[in-house]
Amino acid sequence: MNMTTILVLDDSAPMLMSLTRILKNAGYDVETAANGKLGLNKLTGGLKPSVILTDLNMPEMDGIEFIKGARKSAATRFTPIIVLTTESSVKGRDDARAAGATGWLTKPTEPAELLSTVKRLLPSHG
């Protein structure tokens, strides 16, 4: 059983629950946060996820600010961060890339695509 930890950020409770189920069924350990601020709190609290999956549009602190914050920390400077969002504009992608995101998935995406993207970005992959 692969117990790699994935931190998931989304302000939608059904999305958080659904992502948790899909990832846990695939054998991952999952930590969740409802916005960027809570996500950063988890990271400063010592959580060291292997991959981070984040929405962009969230209250309190959005995904872009969260990514910038995560990149400032030595512990998560190189952690793969996948953006999962309804936003599909080139500008949105450019902003995410500039902030330090590694991957991009536009909602709605299929579970298989989500899992293959996570797997591809895991440090042990390849």
Binding site: S12, S18, L56, G103, P108, T109, E113
Partner: protein, 165 residues
């Protein structure tokens, strides 16, 4: 500027759309899918016991088939719930944008620092579809008014491909 009565209508509409948004957020369909998946998982874990208590090749074959079916249905339900949750999230965000705009339009005159315009509305968008609807509605409005269309908000190029950045 809208009259006091117009603002009241806008405030009421904002409350109505907010209620719709909350209803979207609290849709029970996904929860039912998860509960069904959990029940199937529990049943699948009990089936081997049935086979142990009633040994026989036919029983074993039926139990194996039942477990395979339940596992397959559970996975399909979880996958469907995942896609449904994303669609629901998408719709909720569109409703949230309308509610936010209506709240600002319906705010009492004393609380309005400036007039809320189409460009302000565009700043609330979170997806390309909203921008496309905005542009189509703007074009239709100007066409119906006989005015020349102003600039598009330019949803920009849509990046459809998922993957690495």
């Amino acid at each position: 500027m809208e009259s006091g009565d117009d603002r009241l209508v806008l405030a009421i509409l904002a409350a109505q759309v907010t209620a719709v948004r909350d209803r979207i957020e609290n849709n029970e369909t996904i929860d039912l899918m998860w509960r069904t998946t959990d029940v199937l998982a529990r049943l699948a874990s009990l089936v081997p016991e049935l086979s142990r208590r009633n040994p026989g090749a036919d029983m074993e074959r039926q139990c194996t088939a039942a477990i395979a079916n339940m596992t397959d249905i559970s996975k399909s339900l979880d996958d469907m719930a995942f896609v449904q949750a994303q669609r629901q999230d998408f719709t909720r965000q569109m409703a949230d944008c309308v509610a936010t705009a209506l709240i600002r339009l319906g705010a009492p005159a004393a609380q309005q620092t400036s007039r809320f315009c189409a460009a302000d509305l565009a700043k609330l968008y979170v997806c390309a579809e909203q921008r496309e609807i905005h542009d189509a509605a703007t074009a239709a409005f100007y066409h119906a008014s006989g005015w020349s269309a102003q600039g598009s908000i330019q949803p920009g190029k849509t990046a459809n491909s998922n993957g690495m950045l």
